[in-house]
């Protein structure tokens, strides 16, 4: 096992009943890399991301994040997750939501951290408004702030651009570019090939629960995003 790896996935299987959602997935990712995790709907991307984030246990195999089990508390503090749901509370205000997660992640000065991220996502003017009064785009930006507030070393993003409005996409792209510049590791499942491949350093394609391709992103992929599906997927 490469001890320097940010992420080490070793022969991971996941079964739901008899159905194999993941089969023999092995992968290593160096710190600072950005992996675009591609695959059709139902290929197993979300299942893999849930296992990486410690939300689900593999049926077989091992996942190490920075050399440690992903369910260890110290490891979870290094991971930021942006899943399908926005994971913010409608009955709390924007600042209360961010303070809640700042507290749970043990950040010093949660109020200051919350205000800093509200400013970065352009929500400082509605800091004290309840989330249930927010538009969809504002809720999405708050979700992005929630995932980034503890400045995680590993970002796990499950279709992060899906259903975002233009402003939320711009905010997320800017934060991801900053995260990459800061040397954070990013794993991003997506169907938006162009946006993902522009940012990615590595590409993996999951097909029917198996890793069909893994390797560095090439210029050929950027120029023709469908290339990878044509070459390794079922088109």
């Amino acid at each position: 096992m490469p001890s320097s790896a940010a992420l080490h996935v070793d022969q991971v299987y996941k079964f739901f009943g008899d159905y194999p959602a993941l089969r023999d997935v092995s992968y290593s990712l160096e710190p600072g890399a950005c992996l675009a995790l591609l695959g059709r709907n139902g290929a197993g991307k979300t299942t893999l991301l849930r296992i990486l984030s410690g939300l689900s246990k593999p049926s077989k195999g091992q996942v190490l994040v920075f050399g440690h089990d992903s369910r260890e508390q110290a490891t979870r503090a290094k991971i930021g997750v942006l899943g399908h749901g926005i994971a913010i509370y409608d009955e709390l205000s924007a600042v209360e939501n961010l303070k809640l997660f700042a507290n749970l992640y043990g950040l010093s000065n949660p109020q200051q951290q919350a205000m800093k991220w509200l400013e970065r996502t352009g929500l400082e003017r509605v800091a004290d408004s309840l989330v249930r009064e927010f538009s969809r785009g504002m809720r999405q930006r708050l979700a992005v702030a929630r995932a980034f507030i503890h400045e995680p070393s590993l970002l796990l993003l499950d279709e992060p651009f899906t259903a975002l409005d233009d402003r939320a996409i711009a905010v997320l792209q800017s934060l991801l570019a900053d995260a990459k510049k800061d040397g954070r590791t990013i794993v991003m499942s997506t169907h938006q090939l162009r946006e993902a491949l522009e940012l990615a350093t590595d590409v993996a394609l999951i097909n029917k629960g198996k890793l069909a391709f893994k390797g560095e992103r090439t210029q050929e992929m950027v120029d023709d995003p469908a290339y990878i599906y044509r070459s390794y997927g079922d088109l």
Partner: protein, 227 residues
């Protein structure tokens, strides 16, 4: 304050704040409890002395049914927007998450029970406040037992479509020893008997029940949350 208690308090404050703003579970549980107390008062003669002898049973049946409405919401509240995923993937241990939620449920349930006692006194003409401190102790101990098991089953049934039905079906059989103790002790205290002899044995059973199920739940909750 240790990390465990700090995280538990954060979860408790979040749950209480959400509930006091939405009032979903409070309104349902409190109105249900009051309606049941009112309906029982039509079924029994409130002026008879026998009412004191069954006061404990009557009150705890009401508390158990009304409590299920609060407990059902405990983890179901996290389903909206997939908030449970954010909590489970954060560095909060399952035990701290469970403990915080249990404390929030305890506060809500004890609050509703404390509002039910005056209503009970009015409908049934019972002077329930004669041994208020002991009664409060029994209410808190029995409610903690109800809360711990209920919160655990709320976590277990959160992804089931029939969770509103499943929670009471799992909760009430497990609660029988604690409910029996709570009924006996409440009846004794409302009748003016001291907590000695048999009543003391019931009190020890209640404390033992709380300790065992709190320890079991804290040990098992991580398995329930991450599958």
């Amino acid at each position: 304050m240790s990390l465990f208690f700090r995280q538990s308090m954060t979860v408790m404050v979040k749950d209480l704040r959400s509930e006091f703003r939405s009032k979903e579970a409070i309104n349902a549980s409190l109105s249900f409890a009051i309606v049941i107390l009112l309906m029982f008062s039509f079924a029994f003669d409130p002026s008879s002395d026998a009412i004191k002898e069954m006061s404990g049973g009557l009150l705890w049946i009401v508390f158990a049914f009304a409590g299920a409405l609060i407990l059902n919401r405990s983890f179901a509240r996290e389903l909206a927007n997939d908030c449970l995923d954010a909590l489970v993937s954060s560095p909060v241990s399952g035990a701290a998450l469970f403990f915080g939620k249990s404390l929030a449920n305890l506060v809500l349930l004890v609050g509703i029970e404390m509002l039910c006692f005056p209503v009970f006194g009015i409908f049934y003409g019972v002077e329930w406040w004669k041994q208020l401190d002991s009664l409060f102790l029994v209410v808190v101990l029995a409610t903690w037992g109800l809360t711990v098991i209920g919160t655990m089953f709320s976590a277990l049934t959160v992804n089931l479509r029939l969770r509103e039905l499943m929670l009471p079906m799992l909760l009430y059989p497990m609660m029988i020893p604690a409910l029996m103790a709570a009924m006996q002790l409440t009846t004794a205290l409302i009748s003016g008997q001291p907590l000695t002899g048999d009543a003391y044995t019931w009190l020890r059973l209640l404390i033992g029940f709380d300790i065992i199920f709190t320890a079991l739940s804290l040990a098992l909750v991580e398995t329930v949350l991450v599958r």
